[in-house]
């Protein structure tokens, strides 16, 4: 049976609902070509981090200034090179090359740290040919005197500023930690977001027991993590007219299918690619196709959201009820 896998995300027509999410791999042209060949419908470029750019520039500056002009025999210690590829130029150049290298849409991703930075870099990404822009917004509101309204306002303000500056589709990638995630999603939509990417996986810190130091730790997603976006996509699907992308835990076709049923327009994949290479994308795409075929679905569009909160047999299952059932069944199973 011929199944229509096409979907629409941020206004982009995609050949299927499997997108490579933002990760270092997508910056490599070879990898990108491989992803396209393996069936990826689009790819999100790795995030451009404003703090990283500023930090690197500072490092280069300090490298050249440290110890200079202090001693007559060694007025400096480092040769000055022609250039250092600081700033966003390297990223933007890669973005341009990526656009030329593949036919699938390329979504640029931005993580700014200053209002000016968000707007400036967003414009540059548009100039470099990005088909859409994913704003990767992450604050750790660690100040006990900053309340939730202020934090939320920061998100919305940033989004509004970028929206004002660029006219390509915008997605917002955020974490799940809002007092009212659904309300925030709506506010993002009203501020001009064309889509939401749910959710940002924060790289939580770890403690090294030997060194007694806090260290960042990159941990690939666990398959069960897909259930967090599953809930919120199911909840938001019926309430908002906005693209929804699911990310985290999409390792196999099963997770992708579930997320699509809940209402996702696309599902985003990284961990499986790291573990199994580009072939993981093919397996997911083909798995979706097989399941749809085997279950007599005509298209992704047909099944998308068919298990959203409103459309599923038990709407309460996405709410607290599901929690209580789980506790009960868990206890019941083992006692």
């Amino acid at each position: 049976m011929n199944v229509d896998l096409t979907t629409e995300y941020l206004g982009l027509k995609l050949r299927n609902p499997v997108v490579v999410s933002a990760c270092p791999l997508t910056e490599s042209l070879d990898q990108l070509r491989g992803f396209e060949a393996a069936g990826a419908a689009a790819a999100v470029f790795p995030s451009l981090f404003e703090e990283q750019i500023v930090g690197e520039e500072r490092n280069i500056d300090e490298l050249h200034e440290f110890g200079t002009e202090s001693f007559a025999e060694a007025l400096d210690y480092m040769p000055e090179l022609v250039g250092y590829n600081t700033g966003p130029d390297g990223y933007l150049q890669s973005l341009e090359q990526a656009k030329r290298a593949v036919d699938i849409p390329i979504i640029a991703s931005l993580n700014g740290s200053s209002r000016g930075g968000w707007v400036k870099y967003a414009r540059s990404m548009v100039s470099a040919g990005a088909d859409a822009l994913e704003l990767n917004i992450m604050f750790i509101p660690d100040d006990v005197f900053v309340d939730s309204q202020e934090v939320e306002a920061r998100y919305v303000d940033l989004l509004s500023a970028v929206r004002e500056a660029v006219d390509i589709p915008l997605a917002v990638k955020v974490g799940p930690y809002f007092s009212s995630t659904a309300n925030m999603a709506r506010r993002f939509m009203l501020a001009g977001a064309n889509g939401l990417v749910l959710f940002n996986r924060l790289l939580e810190p770890d403690i090294d027991l030997y060194e007694l130091e806090v260290k960042p730790k990159l941990v690939l997603s666990h398959v069960e993590e897909f259930r967090l976006p599953l809930r919120w996509i199911a909840i938001l699907r019926d309430q908002l007219d906005i693209s929804l992308a699911a990310t985290s835990g999409v390792h196999r076709p099963e997770q992708a299918l579930k997320l699509l049923l809940a209402g996702a327009d696309v599902t985003m994949v990284t961990t499986s690619i790291y573990r199994h290479g580009a072939g993981a994308l093919t397996r997911i795409v083909e798995g979706i196709r097989d399941w749809l075929g085997n279950n007599d679905y005509e298209s992704v569009a047909q099944m998308r959201g068919s298990m959203s909160k409103n459309n599923c047999p038990d709407a309460d299952a996405y709410g607290r009820g599901n929690y209580m059932k789980a506790i009960v069944s868990y206890t019941g199973e083992w006692v």
Binding site: R58, N59, F66, E69, E73, Y77, G83, N85, T86
Partner: protein, 1199 residues
């Protein structure tokens, strides 16, 4: 239209050299290094010469190698050049004779520098070029930055026309490093002057198999002499050739030069003859004196060789009655210095032939050795002397010679500078960017106004916490004043703490502006100033301004870099350019300087500029001094006599005032003087928390400055401790019952933070609190100063009781290398200090020139020290290239003395107690117990021989101390060991003699600013390897191991401290040659030096720096002499490299190349590890030599 540029002499000459040559062979040496660096950098980015090709630049292993490569390249037909100075030029001499003998055109550009005699000096004089005057080279002297460019070109054309090679020289630092606004020679002029026929003729003489010739024969008495004379016509023709080229140059550029330039009264009766930058000072004096009607003149020699008598006499006024010839060199024992004898000879030969009558009287003077200041008042004193009826036939000027009374007196305040000059002086800290900003200021004014500009920069003798003084001049006329600013219209002090120790208002002229960077506002600053400074401000009626540049820099996220803030304030106050225009120009300069580093860097600096003027405040100067703050004397009042009389003057910056009699006659200085120079440069110092300490000793071991120390002592001593003194009961088993303490030397600490970084002990309650923590010095100084005094008074622990092979134990030994002026966080000095702790009381040190000879031996104070018995390392530096041989020579002398002592002992056996001779010669296990016993035996020997009246007694007593084994240490960096000194190192190892070679491997030439050596690893960026080093590091250890009978170790004190201690002990105990390569971090690695030891750990765990030792004592059947001491790599090289700027910057600048080189570098590591692993399984049997000279053991030497 003329194009003006603002640059220094090195760049001016290097540009011409790069434009006119095809091959450039280089080697770093101060002050010529920048010429090579610039050419290397230009070629690296594809900058072409006027022939349209990119010159090929190659770094050689030493200057002799560079000269050899130049010689070969010239023979093969490429226009070739090199740059050097001082000792480097001496190494080139053999080739220079050959090149001249073969009439091969080339130009060597020399930043003339002192040759090391009683001491090394990096500064300028003509002793190097004068040593080359017999080579047969033409010698062309430039006396300014403008001339350094112009005459570089004249030399290049003249050498091609004449075939005689040219030495083009200018004064090191004074010209090579002076920034001046000059008119640039356009490339088109260079192209046109470099005629094709000249190049063709040169090429035609080259070696080619198509026209085979043979050059470089060996000749015999029958023809050598005639053949040597065959070149005469070529040398004779040089003056006319140079005159012709100068005329052509003038036609094109309008700048007129002559072989001998004259300025002054046309009818001068007194004339000074000289060459080099000093002419600028005399010119100022001549201008001043002739305006008063004096008949004085200056004759500047440009073409010194061949010395054209006729041209000289033509330039000299016929009215000259009395001539002073000034030489910037010293030739002891000669009738006079070289230029003097040339002038005398010229006058004798030609004066009468030219129609002169009475031969002018000629006197000769020495001036300006090692960049000694030479000023217009000194020139005036010489003119005065010339008018005396009986002037000194030979004199010196610029010093006070109270021994041989040769010096002339001068009035230091005489002859003010031209009124049109604006003069400014800036005192800064090395790290605060002051010099960089001043260089920018000179450029800004040079490029944005019609004013001429000059900048000259004086640096400190220390590498950390050093003071810089920038001397700037601006004038509507070209500036030739080749001396420091003496009367400044503007004085800026960028570091308020300098006011406590330096008299920086000495240079301020009355009514001058004084700008101070201080955290105190205009209303409160007055009483924070030392009373002496207040008084000077009042007396000189200074306009006083303050700015809190740190606050501005901080808010612009520039840390402590205050350069742009202070620069903006200068422009705001000086009024040289309208402020708005100046601000725009500063920002443009910021874009130019920092643009390629990134937009955010530019933005931050521009932000600082914008905020600077708002933070600048005028201070209403009170009419009287207030408060009780006084300047601090340079050394404590109880310091030894020499230190108070001599050293203190140098520390205070008044060394120029010391008379000849104050200085040692042979370069011998007392050790242990660094302790008297309390520099107090740290902003934060480590404070010990005894409750947390685990007594590991790492803080003390890793401290680069011996500024944090540990002691174990009898608890009863605490009764005399200052209140609150921190000590605790020692936990270590071997210290049971004793107290122990860790103490900082607050005024000697540089605040580098290495001790805190390596401290493994963390508080159980607050993990960030360690057993050592950096805290603000202001909160602790007084208490810790008293604590440190008390600490020093505690008795040293008995060396016999110390398990010195442990880290903790080694740190209970007194360091005899302390408070060096090395960079904060230096990676070399912990090793040097450790060696001094282990062997210092019986150690001789041969130190190669380089960082270790500078922080180890640069005046005013030196770190090598003595213990309470007056014993300590005896240290000497010979050269850069000969250090291994130098140390070997020490060993030979000691062995010979020991043989002699043994012989004399036998002679005197009859008057000595029973088995004394046998015991004295028996040797021992090298333990501290045995050493002490041996010292006692020697003392008893002295007692026993006290009343014996036999000739052998006196002879024996003079050398008896060598019966206590001496530990000879040959210390140097990788530039020495891998490159310039390698053949000597190889020979010394091959000698089998008992020497210990410590290579402080920073993997670059650190002292001259980080040029690549053969120790530089693949993929690292360094000067002369700007594209990343393409080939791997030389495996010096394996080369040494090939001999089989040398102990070889590779250590990283931060990677495995215990291994480092153990290996050094083993190496020293081996009775033959030992070579230890010590991984040493350096600023040139592009790291935060605070974490340098962590980098060493990473270097070891990644396999980049494997630890091993090879002990020939295990080279026997069934044993394995080579032991790989570090574990198999657990991390990737890329992880280690990513943390070091030297590798990481290439990844940013050229990712593809970096990726390729990094891959190869990882392959280097993997392959080496595989090889070493196999080596570790190899049995090797080294036959033990039996004769006394081959087994490495001196006659009767203990082991």
């Amino acid at each position: 239209m003329a194009k003006f540029v603002t640059l220094d002499g090195n760049e001016a000459a290097a540009r011409i050299a790069h434009l006119t040559n095809e091959v450039i062979a280089i080697y770093p040496i101060t002050p010529a290094s920048p010429m090579g660096e610039l050419c290397d950098a230009w070629s690296a980015v594809g900058r072409k010469n006027v022939l349209g090709t990119v010159p090929s630049v190659i770094e050689m292993q030493h200057e002799g190698g560079a000269a050899g490569a130049v010689h070969g390249s010239l023979q093969a037909g490429a226009m070739t050049t090199t740059f050097t100075a001082s000792q480097g030029l001496l190494l080139m001499l053999p080739n220079m004779f050959k090149i001249a003998g073969e009439l091969t055109p080339t130009v060597f550009h020399i930043a003339a520098r002192s040759i090391a005699t009683h001491a090394l000096s990096i500064f300028g004089d003509h002793s190097d070029v004068m040593a080359a005057r017999t080579t047969g080279w033409a010698m062309l002297a430039s006396s300014s930055v403008q001339e350094a460019q112009d005459l570089a070109l004249v030399a290049h054309i003249a050498t091609l026309e004449s075939r005689v090679p040219f030495l083009h020289f200018f004064d090191g630092f004074r010209t090579s490093h002076e920034v001046n606004k000059i008119e640039q020679v356009p490339e088109t002029d260079i192209e046109q002057m470099l005629r094709p026929d000249l190049i063709e003729a040169f090429r035609h003489r080259c070696l080619t198999p198509d026209r085979p010739i043979l050059r470089g024969t060996a000749q015999n008495p029958d023809v050598f002499f005639q053949a040597r004379e065959a070149c005469n016509l070529y040398h004779d023709a040089v003056p006319a050739t140079v005159t012709g080229v100068m005329a052509e140059f003038e036609k094109r550029t309008g700048r007129s030069y002559h072989l001998f330039g004259y300025t002054g009264a046309p009818d001068a009766t007194t004339v000074i003859v000289m060459m080099g930058s000093g002419a600028g000072a005399v010119e100022d004096a001549v201008r001043h004196l002739t305006s008063q009607g004096r008949k004085v003149g200056l004759l500047t020699v440009r073409l010194y060789r061949p010395f054209s008598v006729m041209d000289f006499l033509e330039a000299l006024p016929k009215t000259a009655e009395s001539i002073a010839v000034l030489d910037r060199t010293k030739e002891p024992g000669a009738v006079g210095e070289p230029l003097y004898t040339d002038v005398v000879g010229a006058l004798v030969e030609g004066w009468r032939e030219q129609g002169g009558e009475t031969l002018p009287r000629v006197i000769g003077g020495r001036y300006g050795l090692s960049s000694k200041e030479f000023t217009p008042p000194m020139a005036a004193a010489i003119f005065d002397e010339l008018e005396e009826p009986n002037p000194k036939r030979h004199f010196t000027i610029g010093i006070n010679d109270d021994v041989t009374h040769l010096s002339l007196a001068w009035d230091p305040d005489g002859l003010h500078e031209p009124k049109e000059n604006y003069r400014a002086v800036f005192y800064g800290l090395g790290s605060d960017g002051t010099v960089g900003a001043c260089k920018n200021t000179v450029k800004i004014i040079g490029e944005h106004t019609d004013l001429f500009t000059q900048g000259y920069f004086v640096y400190d003798s220390k590498k950390s916490g050093s003071m810089t003084v920038s001397h700037l001049r601006f004038s509507p006329e070209p500036i030739r004043s080749s001396y420091l600013v003496r009367h400044a219209s503007f004085v800026a002090c960028h570091q308020a703490q300098f006011l406590d120790r330096h008299d920086m208002l000495e240079l301020a002229e009355p009514g001058a502006t004084f700008l101070l960077n201080t955290t105190h506002g205009p209303d409160e600053v007055w009483e924070t100033l030392p009373v002496e400074v207040q008084q000077a401000i009042i007396d000189k009626d200074l306009r006083f301004y303050v700015v809190d540049a740190y606050a501005v820099a901080e808010s612009a996220q520039l840390g402590r870099r205050i350069n742009t803030v202070m620069q903006t304030c200068f422009f705001g106050l000086a009024g040289v350019i309208p402020t708005e225009e100046a601000v725009a120009a500063i920002k443009e300069a910021i874009h130019k300087t920092y643009g390629k580093r990134g937009e955010s860097v530019v933005e931050r600096n521009c932000q600082a500029v914008d905020q600077a003027l708002a933070s600048l405040h005028a201070v209403e100067v009170p009419s009287e001094t207030r408060g009780g703050r006084h300047q601090i004397p340079p050394v404590p009042t109880d310091a030894p006599d020499f230190v108070r009389r001599v050293t203190a003057m140098m520390i205070a910056g008044k060394g120029d005032l010391l008379p000849v009699s104050a200085l040692p006659v042979d370069g011998t200085f007392p050790t242990g003087t660094a302790q008297f120079e309390k520099r107090r440069i740290a902003l934060q110092i480590p404070i010990w928390d005894p409750d947390i300490c685990i007594e590991c000793g790492l803080c003390s071991l890793m401290c680069p400055h011996a500024a944090i120390r540990s002691k174990a002592f009898d608890t009863a001593q605490l009764q005399w401790a200052p209140p609150g003194y921190r000590a605790r009961q020692a936990k270590a088993k071997e210290l049971e019952g004793l107290s122990m303490t860790i103490q900082v030397a607050p005024e000697d600490c540089t605040g580098c933070g290495v001790c805190v970084d390596v401290c493994p002990a963390k508080s159980k309650e607050v993990a960030k609190h360690k057993a050592i923590n950096l805290e603000a010095i202001d909160d602790h100084l007084d208490v810790e100063r008293a604590n440190y005094d008390y600490f020093l008074g505690l008795p040293e622990f008995d060396r016999r009781e110390i398990p010195r092979e442990s880290v903790r134990g080694s740190q209970l030994l007194e360091p005899l290398f302390e408070y060096s002026g090395a960079c904060a966080g230096c990676g070399e000095t912990p090793y040097v200090k450790l060696v001094s702790q282990l062997f210092g009381d019986r150690m001789l040190v041969a130190n190669a020139t380089g960082c270790s000879s500078i922080y180890g031996g640069n005046l005013p104070t030196t770190p090598w020290s003595v213990n309470s018995e007056g014993r300590g390392p005896a240290w000497s530096n010979s050269l850069f290239e000969d250090n291994a041989e130098f140390g070997l020579g020490m060993r030979l002398a000691l062995d010979q003395q020991r043989s002699q002592a043994a012989y004399l002992l036998e002679q005197l056996a009859d008057v000595l107690p029973g088995d004394a001779v046998q015991e004295l010669l028996a040797g021992g296990d090298g333990s501290e117990q045995w050493l002490l016993s041996q010292r006692e035996r020697v003392a008893n020997l002295r007692k026993a021989l006290a009343g014996v009246d036999r000739p052998a007694v006196k002879e024996l007593l003079a050398i008896a101390d060598v019966l206590v084994p001496r530990s000879v240490w040959i210390i140097g960096g990788d530039g020495w060991a891998y490159d310039i000194g390698f053949s000597g190192l190889d020979h010394t190892i091959a000698s089998g003699r008992n020497v210990n070679i410590l290579v402080l491997d920073t993997e670059v030439y650190s002292n001259t600013g980080g040029q690549a050596s053969k120790a530089t690893p693949r993929a690292a960026v360094a000067k002369f390897a700007a594209g990343g080093k393409a080939v791997g590091k030389k495996d010096l250890g394996m080369i040494a191991m090939a001999y089989g009978n040398a102990y070889v170790g590779q250590i990283a004190i931060g990677g495995n401290p215990r291994h480092a201690v153990k290996t050094l002990l083993e190496a020293e105990s081996y009775p033959g040659p030992s070579l230890v390569m010590a991984y040493s971090n350096c600023i040139a690695h592009g790291i935060n030096m605070e974490t340098s030891m962590t980098h060493q750990k990473d270097a070891v765990t990644s396999g980049y720096w494997p630890l091993y030792h090879y002990d020939p004592r295990h080279a026997k059947v069934g044993d394995h002499p080579f032991v790989l001491d570090s574990r198999k790599p657990t991390t990737r090289f890329a992880d280690y490299a990513a943390k070091e700027g030297r590798f990481a910057m290439l990844a940013r600048a050229n990712p593809e190349s970096a990726a390729r080189l990094m891959e190869l570098a990882q392959a280097d590591i993997s392959e080496r590890w595989r090889w070493y692993e196999q080596m570790a399984g190899v049995e090797r049997t080294i036959p033990q030599a039996s004769n006394e000279n081959g087994n490495g053991k001196g006659q009767g030497e203990s082991s």
